[in-house]
């Protein structure tokens, strides 16, 4: 271990593994360390034994739940937008060849205590009971504007400057009522609270566009989401393999790994473990490796539930997202329900995994999940966790510590990939060009 590296990466969460892979591909000499004996950190998918070790130390799982290794339970449940930036990174780096994805069956939203399907098309929107008769026409007009909007083509602006007009103003121009606004902002734009209303409309218009572009990305999608077989924990492993293939060195189970700082400058100069020190020009990692350099921004509460049936009122779907918009449940932030099953190889045959999560607002976080939990029907087993979300205090340029933000309560990976791309820019000074050809294609071109 006593060697000099360009970069040492701490923690094998998704963000760290993407950065590690990108840096190795760029020719950096990378050492990647995790204190756990498994890959993934916060973005791991655990088997049943690991899950019990984490939540019920000393207790053995009941045999009725099924074989331990058939479980791949995400610690941070999220789906992948089919046309989002994570997919672009996956294609750019060509790690898709290590992974298999399946579409998510459906997207639902709670409306007046009923679970309703999120319309997958204009045609479905006209039939949906979510909107009143006159409201449907106004909503269709609004969605028509959003879908034709192209930031690169001022013709499509239709006289609106979306960088100035707020989202609240844009909604009122189309005369949309509060229920429709709630639906657009939370079920389509996937905002988790209402703070977006006061911000320029461009952000939200692009988010709604992303939702519909994702629906159209692959033939036959019934939701904008895809999800990897065997759980999200496959993603960091795939990027770790990319890093290893390009020369990255991996060391797991380094429980005592800690950053070593230069006494004078305060700059990170390496990582120490088991009495040995590896040096590096800079260090990358998740917040848990830099306790003095991060601050808590929010807390997220999650319940991981094992069920023997699909979520009621979701048409027997094997995988769904169900959003409980804040106003529907008298909160400031939405409650998210995710469901996956044996069809995605995350649970044994005839078992479903349901995750209920939200941003903590009170001193009794577990109680905040009640509205989501009651939609699940009978729960075979439940694990509840409250997680602090941290962000770095500094950019990393001064102290050589590039720290990722914690995984937020959003239902997908868009903000997480934004963070990764920003870290990559801060580290290398380069913008990652996702529109460029994939690595494999470039290699083929180079060898041809």
């Amino acid at each position: 271990m006593e060697e000099a590296y360009d970069a040492i990466v701490l923690g094998t969460g998704l963000k760290e593994c993407i950065i590690s892979g990108l840096l190795s591909v760029d020719g950096y000499k990378v050492l990647h360390i995790d204190r756990n004996n498994y890959y993934g950190g916060q973005s791991a998918s655990l088997n049943l034994n690991q899950l019990f070790e984490r939540f019920r130390p000393g207790q053995k799982p009941q045999t009725e739940l099924g074989p331990s290794r058939d479980f791949n339970v995400d610690l941070v449940p999220k789906f992948i937008m089919a046309n989002g930036n994570l997919v672009k990174v996956l294609i750019h780096t060509d790690v898709t060849k290590y992974l298999e994805f399946k579409a998510v069956d459906g997207s639902f939203v709670l409306n007046k205590n009923r679970v309703e399907k999120v319309p997958a098309s204009d045609w479905e929107a006209l039939k949906s009971p979510l909107l009143g008769l006159f409201e449907k026409r106004r909503a269709a007009k609004f969605l028509g504007y959003v879908q034709q909007y192209d930031p690169a083509d001022p013709q499509t602006y239709k006289g609106q400057d979306l960088r100035r007009v707020t989202m609240a103003e844009l909604y009122s121009q189309y005369g949309l009522d509060a229920m429709t606004v709630d639906f657009m902002g939370h079920a389509l734009a996937l905002h988790s609270d209402d703070s977006y209303m006061r911000r320029p409309a461009l952000e939200t218009v692009l988010k709604i566009k992303l939702y519909y572009d994702s629906m159209m990305r692959y033939e036959g999608l019934k939701s904008p989401y895809i999800y990897p077989l065997y759980g999200l924990g496959e993603l960091p492993q795939a990027f770790a393999r990319l890093s290893a293939v390009y020369g990255g060195t991996y060391m797991l189970a380094k429980a005592d790994a800690e950053v070593v700082y230069d006494a004078d400058s305060g700059r990170a100069m390496g990582v120490k473990s088991e009495g040995q020190t590896a040096t590096a020009k800079f260090v990358v990692g998740d917040a848990s490796y830099f306790p003095s350099k991060v601050q808590r921004t929010s807390r997220v509460v999650r319940a991981l539930c094992v069920l023997s049936h699909p979520i009621p009122s979701t048409g027997d779907s094997h995988s769904v997202q169900l959003i409980l918009p804040q106003k529907q449940v008298g909160r400031r932030s939405d409650i998210y329900v995710f469901c996956c099953s044996y069809s995605h190889h995350v649970a044994p045959k005839d078992k479903w995994l349901a995750f209920v999560s939200t941003t903590v607002e009170t001193t009794d976080p577990t109680a905040e999940l009640a509205a989501g939990l009651q939609l699940l029907g009978k729960i075979d087993e439940k694990f509840v966790e409250v997680v602090d979300v941290f962000e770095p205090l500094e950019s990393g340029q001064r102290d050589g510590c590039f720290i990722s933000r914690g995984y937020d309560a959003t239902s997908h990976f868009e903000t997480e990939i934004e963070d990764v791309l920003d870290m990559y820019l801060r580290i290398t000074g380069k913008v990652l060009d996702l529109s460029s050809e994939s690595l494999a294609k470039r290699q083929e071109a180079a060898s041809a």
């Binding site: 492993q237 770790a240 393999r241 293939v245 991996y250 060391m251 797991l252 494999a440 083929e444």
Partner: protein, 193 residues
């Protein structure tokens, strides 16, 4: 009748320096795998054998075995595994036994085929693992066993998952046994399969 090409994942395991990489190079670049499709850092190979309707995905460890940090993904969905050891090092053989154990732990597929390969047999004077010992161990644990060296360009293991469930037939050929490419293939029954 047009048959669909089946993907079949083959993983390589073995201690550093046991000769995995040179073995896979021979798999891929050798006479049988002359048309290599793509490589990324020489750790992932695919090869389609149209007449068997099978596309091999061959995974090399990319060095991740060095600090015992192979990801579960590596084993996931493997139809076959080649575990290599250096016949001049007893420790290498012991490590191979541990890989076999890890494979059985990590691979859910009950029809996984494991081939154990004793490499570097041309170094006769330095031999530390007797062929009989390796063969006995292989027989006890239902592995296929082969010996290999840099001089004998042999032991291309071909694993073919048929479309009906997971009945697996294998064709193993080796020049040192005098089996030429054009002879009919010897099909072995999978232990327990």
């Amino acid at each position: 009748m047009v048959e669909q090409v089946q993907q079949s994942k083959l993983v390589l395991l073995g201690e550093m320096g046991s000769g995995k990489t040179s073995l896979v190079q021979r798999f891929v670049r050798g006479q049988y795998f002359e048309n290599q499709e793509s490589t990324i850092g020489a750790s992932f190979f695919t090869k389609t054998i149209p007449e068997k309707h099978v596309k091999f995905e061959i995974w090399d460890t990319a060095g991740q075995e060095r600090y015992h940090s192979l990801a579960p993904m590596y084993y996931r969905g493997a139809a076959s595994a080649v575990v290599v050891f250096d016949t001049t090092l007893a420790s290498s053989f012991e490590r191979a036994k541990k890989w076999v154990h890890e494979l059985r732990q990590n691979v859910a597929n009950p029809d996984l085929i494991i081939a154990l390969v004793g490499n570097k047999v041309d170094l006769v004077d330095a031999r530390a693992v007797a062929e009989a010992d390796a063969r006995n161990y292989a027989a006890e644990t239902s592995l296929l066993y082969y010996e290999s060296s840099a001089k004998t360009n042999v032991n291309v293991v071909e694993v073919h998952a048929t479309r009906t469930g997971f009945r697996i037939s294998k064709v193993i050929r080796g020049e040192e046994k005098g089996i030429s490419r054009n002879l009919p293939r010897r099909t072995l029954q999978v232990p327990g399969g």
